[in-house]
Each structure stands twice: as structure tokens, then as C-alpha cells.
Subunit: 202 residues, 2 copies
DNA sequence: TCCGATGTTTGAACACGTTCAAAAATGGGT
DNA sequence: ACCCATTTTTGAACGTGTTCAAACATCGGA
């Protein structure tokens, strides 16, 4: 991880990793099936750290926008040192067959932790949702976060300022849209979204 | 392109391409800066073909949902033979620094064609939008299409049936949501979306 | 103490994308 | 016809991720 952080994904060779670990190249491949697998721990590490750093927001705030916004912003804070590195290996995560894909079985652990965080965001908030929507909302919020991460990867601005602006804009929108589901006509649309998500999962 | 289609991206070597073209390996690199650039023509080719195949839908249909749905479904039809190939090289397109990224300068031509198609989708439809939204809507529809493509890449179902189901679900939703902007409270949210998009672009 | 099986380590070897200096071809000006 | 600058072609060479057969280590049981 140190080598990756310092030199980026591509510039860090398996030979350098093996040497830094004091083993031969072949041994590195005995413990890690590929260079991608080397980086698998990064996900688990990051999602666990995020889970921790988000605890006090979830303990103190009660407004949905504050809770969700806090969760997203702290992810950006946490991931900031790894932004350049992430940009260099993200290509692998976008391959559907890669174990680094956020939808892969290998990423299930990190994914579950992340969805659980969003379940907490909802559970402790003042937002009231229809039952059908309430059930699917954590996964939808996680999907929005994946969209944010996609934007973040492309974001070359200082301190990822643009991604932060995105979050400050999107969170109130999600908040408002969610509350709009009180209107029957909007709720009908929301129910269709839920039905679609469910049919695509099955 | 034939070699890519038959063997996939990774399995097609630059040496094989050079040999099939009857030139040396070095000459291949004289005309194409990298393996990724070899595939650049695929975008232009595909978006041009899409523009053509979509003409009669845009000439006959007037309902927004029919127009937009037709445009998306014909893209799936068109891209179907390349699905496996696309999955193998898509990883490169997800790299923000890759010329294959849909946001890259090198992809600008194909991107402009695609956005123009969506402008036509709107222009000839019965959908009435507020001026601010009308201006940004083509790009938003294109973004939705990029989302569909992302889903499509991950879609291993027969004939990409799940992506087709997604389109059949999403299009009426977009249609309904767009028409809901007649309600002042929904229109306010839509205006915030437009403002956000504009601030992020600048 | 020795044996065999299992677990671990090693570095050479492979195929790949890419680079580069040198060679070959081209073409316009005299 | 000749020259020279420019364009084009070539294949060897480099560094990479990955594989693999062989060597070595470990350890429980006879």
C-alpha cells in the first residue's frame, strides 16, 4: 500500500513489491493471485475506516441531509490521500470481470458494510418513507455514492473541490425528492423505481 | 476490428494486428499511438451508425417515450455483436486519462453526434419543458444513456435482455418525471438540477 | 532417525505493449 | 541525374505481469 500510494498503481511493479516485502517475485504470486488482488485489501480497509469515522455524525445529527451529506463528505476526506492512486487503478475496478468491481463477490464484504452505513443514515433520520421505498433506499443511496465515486475519480480539481460541490448540490436534491414522495403522483413514480430495481435484481 | 470482434480486446495482440495488416509491428505504432487508439474508430463508427439507424424513428414517432425508447433500444441492437468485445476493452474506457473515455477530447466527435441525436429526440417530441431545462436536457439524456451503457457492459444475460428491461422501465419514468416538472415544486427541484450541472461544468 | 507428503520459495522464461535508432523510400529542388 | 530533407518502415530491445517446473523447507508418523 505504501508503494502504491507513493508511486501510483502502474508505476508500482510486482518486482518492487516483492523486493520491499523481502521475498522473491514468485512468492508474491504464491500469496496474491494477481496485482489486482494486492489491492483488494484497500476496499475493506477504506470501508471499515469510513464506518468508524462516520459514527459521530450518525450519533449526533438527526436531519437526513446532514447525515447523508456528512457520510459522503467524510468519505471524500478519507479517500483524498489515495485519489491519484485510485485514478490509476480504477480502470480495473470498471472491468465487470475484475474482483475489484464494486459488484463482484470479492467486494461483497466492503459493499455490505457500505450499505449498512446507509441503512443507519436512514434509520436515525427524520425522513419518513413509504415502506416499499424504505426497504430499497439504502441500496439506492449506496448507488448514488458509487456515482459520486465515479465523478470523484474523474475529478482533478484541488482537494476534489468539484466533487464536494456535487455532494453539496445532490444531497439537498435527494432530500427534497424523497420528501416529495408524499405527493401521490411522485410516490407512484417512486414505486415504479422500486419495482424496476427489484425486477432487475431477480 | 475483425480481430477484436473475433478474439476480444486482450487476446488480440498488436503483433497480430500488424501481421494481418501486412506491416511490421513498428509501422502499426507509426499510425496508431497505442492499442487503445486502434479502437477509437469503433466509437465514431458506432455513433455514426446509430445516428443513421435512428432516423426513421425520429421521422415517424412524436411521443417522447417512443422516440427516446426507440433510440436506446436501437443502440442495444446495434451494439449487440460487439458486447463481448466491449466488455473486454471497457476497462480502458473507464480510465479518466484514456482517450477512450467518453469524456475525453478524443471522443468529442462521437459524443457530439450522440448528444445531437438526443436533441432531435426532444425537438420532435410532444414534450414541453421549461426553457432552462430544455437547454440542458439533451446532455442529461445522453448521461442517462451512458448509465445504460454501463449497465449493458455488466449485463451477461441472453441478448442483453436485462438492459432491455431497464430501458423499458427507465424511459417511462423519465417521461413521467419530465412531465411532472409542470408542478411548481417539482420544477423547482429540476431547476436546481440544472443549476448544479451548470456550476459543475464551469 | 529417516521417509514421504505437503507447503513454500525461487528465478528463469513467456508473451505482451511500447520505444527507438537505424535503414529504406519518397519527393522536390537544382 | 543528383542531393538532401522528410516521411515511412523495420525489428531488436526494454520492462511489464504472469506462469511454472524445480528446489527447498517443514512436519507428522513409522
Amino acid at each position: 500500500m505504501r508503494l502504491f500510494r507513493e508511486g501510483g498503481y502502474d508505476a508500482t511493479t510486482m518486482r518492487a513489491v516483492a523486493e520491499a516485502a523481502g521475498v522473491s517475485l514468485g512468492s508474491a504470486y504464491y500469496y496474491f493471485a494477481s496485482k489486482e488482488h494486492l489491492v483488494q485489501g484497500f476496499y475493506d480497509q477504506l470501508s471499515a475506516a469510513h464506518h468508524e469515522v462516520v459514527a459521530d455524525v450518525l450519533a449526533t445529527e438527526t436531519g437526513f441531509a446532514e447525515r447523508y451529506g456528512g457520510v459522503l463528505e467524510r468519505w471524500i476526506d478519507l479517500a483524498e490521500p489515495y485519489h491519484d492512486f485510485a485514478a490509476t487503478f480504477f480502470r480495473n475496478a470498471a472491468d465487470p470481470r475484475s474482483p475489484l468491481s464494486p459488484f463482484s463477490p470479492e467486494s461483497a464484504a466492503a459493499r455490505e458494510v457500505s450499505i449498512a452505513v446507509h441503512r443507519e443514515v436512514l434509520a436515525g433520520s427524520d425522513l419518513k418513507l413509504a415502506p416499499a421505498l424504505r426497504e430499497e433506499m439504502p441500496e439506492l443511496l449506496w448507488l448514488v455514492q458509487m456515482g459520486m465515486v465515479l465523478f470523484w475519480v474523474y475529478d482533478a480539481s484541488e482537494g476534489q473541490a468539484r466533487t464536494r460541490a456535487l455532494v453539496r448540490g445532490v444531497v439537498p436534491l435527494v432530500d427534497r425528492l424523497a420528501r416529495l414522495t408524499r405527493l401521490p403522483v411522485v410516490r407512484a413514480a417512486a414505486n415504479d423505481v422500486v419495482a424496476l430495481v427489484r425486477s432487475l435484481r431477480g
